[in-house]
């Protein structure tokens, strides 16, 4: 018996009639079942295979550009837009430690646009443990960058659980970078013991002049 506030189960004659239909062998229903089987075999399975190939390659491929290009080939215009977004997610989403983040004072737009990259910590982490990763930054401009610093908001998952910003540290701080110089920053996330499982994200932002923004993603398992 299903009953809950605001929605009453229709215990009516109509449902009884439907239940009788449900137990009978109907020609139209049988035809529909056969057609669905054919269509699913032709369509959804094919789509699923594409999805599986993508996920597999997403994890394993060392040449993600080639993967994206393969998807682009013959794709519909709308799909191209979709692929552009996934391109961003792949570039920034799975290779935090490999990615060099370019900084340029002259480029005022920087990354401050709708394609905010996602920086995903490469390893999953359990509550009570910490996870760290190196982020490489490079000064692509022709001026010195002084006192480069990164700030982060609290992280939140889809159920509203949070990890405080104080649990996230950046080392070293106040970095100076000459033109074309590259340095590493270690991001360390100390996940509190009582943290619920889930994918947590928050906004990461550098000194305002650099216009660099990214989503930091931490997977707690």
């Amino acid at each position: 018996m299903e009953k809950s506030k605001g929605q009453t189960d229709f215990k009516t004659k109509s449902f009884d009639i439907l239940s009788e239909f449900a137990n009978s062998t109907s020609k139209v229903v049988q035809k529909a079942a056969d057609i669905l089987e054919e269509e699913v075999a032709a369509g959804v399975i094919a789509a699923k295979q594409v999805e599986e190939i993508f996920v597999k390659n997403n994890k394993a491929s060392s040449d993600q550009k080639a993967l994206i290009n393969r998807f682009r080939k013959d794709a519909h215009e709308l799909l191209d837009v979709i692929v552009n977004i996934l391109d961003v997610s792949i570039k920034y989403g799975t290779n935090l430690t490999d990615k060099i983040i370019s900084m340029d004072f002259n480029n005022k737009k920087g990354s401050n646009n709708s394609q905010t990259p996602v920086l995903e910590m490469p390893n999953e982490v359990k509550p009570g443990e910490k996870v760290s990763a190196d982020m490489t930054i490079r000064n692509e401009g022709d001026k010195n960058i002084t006192k480069f610093d990164v700030f982060v908001t609290e992280l939140i998952n889809s159920s509203g659980n949070k990890i405080a910003s104080t649990a996230i540290k950046f080392k070293p701080v106040n970095i100076n970078l000459k033109p074309s110089e590259t340095k590493k920053i270690t991001i360390e996330v100390n996940v509190p013991k009582n943290t619920a499982k889930g994918s947590y994200s928050g906004l990461l932002q550098a000194n305002s002049e650099l216009k660099f923004k990214a989503i930091l993603l931490v997977n707690v398992v």
């Binding site: 018996m1 299903e2 009953k3 809950s4 506030k5 605001g6 929605q7 009453t8 189960d9 229709f10 009516t12 004659k13 109509s14 449902f15 009639i17 439907l18 239940s19 009788e20 239909f21 449900a22 137990n23 009978s24 109907s26 139209v28 229903v29 035809k31 529909a32 079942a33 057609i35 669905l36 269509e39 699913v40 959804v44 789509a47 699923k48 999805e51 993508f54 996920v55 997403n58 709308l78 799909l79 837009v81 979709i82 977004i85 996934l86 961003v88 997610s89 792949i90 989403g93 799975t94 709708s114 905010t116 996602v118 995903e120 889809s158 159920s159 994918s199 994200s201 989503i215 993603l217």
Partner: protein
């Protein structure tokens, strides 16, 4: 029959989720130039009173499986925007004059403007899907995209099947052809994919997702057949479209297909001539004559029975999918909507 108050209860839940989705849709529509022939018009269909089945089923399925409204709202928004884009283009393709109680965009502004408005709605629907990236992560965002891609592709293929029948004046269509066409044109995007997306968003996985295919197909078929029946016997004020409009358009409904397969050769020839005549040259007398034949050959009652049997089969599938879940408003809402699909009057 279900009492009016019980219908109202279900409609309230539908309206609640529809409002969430429509408010979200409107938030994605640009408030800038060019307004007069684009951005003032893209909100036209979403603002009209719609039923909201798609966002309703998407959000309710997500919640029934432990998710929440927020996590699935962007996907529901995109589905509703794609739906409105389909409607705009569908009205052009069918040369329809009324939609949701008002003049269609093509009637008011002409085909060129309407095509562009539909294109805009299609493109604008990409944005909420892109934004899933920040809340659902890259893999789930990709999975939702693959669902949407399949949904849209099936719909245009189904539409092409139906338009092809009309263009070639195809008379000898079988029930199987019709069932395949509505699976592609209607069921994937009205029921199956909204529910699949709600489910996978809630559980974070595509495991067992295909269990929604049968349920959605049976329910979607019942919905489409009921829609075709309402076009013949509904109240224009409630239904919002022209009554007998499908006959005027020569639409290959289950009712017409049944009639063509059961009437005399002479009658079939005359119907064929009617269908071969351009819409603007068809006359009311012939439309009414075909409607009378549909009654004479019990094509309407046959379609009604098919809708009931399909809804019954949907109920059986519902028990398999939702039976083990804890009771909730959303679980009951989905069960009640099966019956509503075939008893609705709008």
């Amino acid at each position: 029959m279900i009492t009016t108050s019980k219908y109202d209860e279900l409609k309230q839940v539908l309206a609640k989720y529809n409002k969430l989705a429509i408010d979200s849709v409107l938030s994605y529509l640009p408030n800038k130039e060019p307004r007069k022939y684009l951005y003032d018009l893209v909100s036209s269909y979403p603002k009209r009173p719609g039923k909201g089945f798609r966002p309703g089923l998407c959000i309710a399925t997500c919640k029934a499986f432990g998710g929440n409204e927020e996590m699935v709202l962007k996907s529901s928004t995109a589905i509703e925007m794609f739906h409105n884009a389909f409607l705009v283009h569908d009205d052009i393709e069918d040369e329809s004059e009324y939609r949701r109680g008002s003049e269609t965009l093509n009637k008011s502004y002409g085909n060129a403007i309407a095509v562009n408005v539909g294109d805009a709605l299609n493109v604008l629907s990409i944005r909420p899907l892109m934004e899933n990236l920040f809340s659902l992560g890259p893999n789930m965002t990709w999975t939702v995209f693959t669902e949407i891609e399949h949904m849209v592709r099936q719909s245009v293929e189904g539409q092409a099947m139906e338009l092809g029948w009309i263009k070639e004046n195809k008379i000898l269509i079988q029930e199987e052809d019709y069932l395949r066409m509505i699976l592609k044109k209607t069921c994937w995007y009205t029921i199956i994919h909204p529910m699949r997306i709600g489910y996978l968003t809630a559980i974070g996985d595509t495991e067992d997702i295909d269990k929604f295919n049968r349920f959605g197909y049976y329910m979607g078929s019942a919905f489409q057949i009921q829609d075709d029946l309402l076009n013949l016997v509904g109240d224009v004020k409630k239904y919002g479209k022209e009554i007998l409009g499908d006959i005027w358009e020569g639409k290959r409904t289950l009712i017409l297909i049944h009639l063509l397969n059961n009437c005399s050769a002479t009658e079939r020839e005359k119907i064929s001539q009617f269908l071969n005549t351009p819409r603007k040259n068809r006359n009311e007398e012939d439309v009414c004559w075909i409607f009378d034949l549909m009654q004479k050959y019990k094509s309407i009652s046959y379609a009604t029975k098919c809708a009931q049997e399909l809804a019954g089969a949907a109920l059986r599938e519902y028990m398999k999918i939702f039976g083990y879940l804890p009771d909730s408003e959303d679980k009951t809402f989905i069960k009640n909507i099966i019956l509503y699909m075939i008893e609705r009057d709008l």
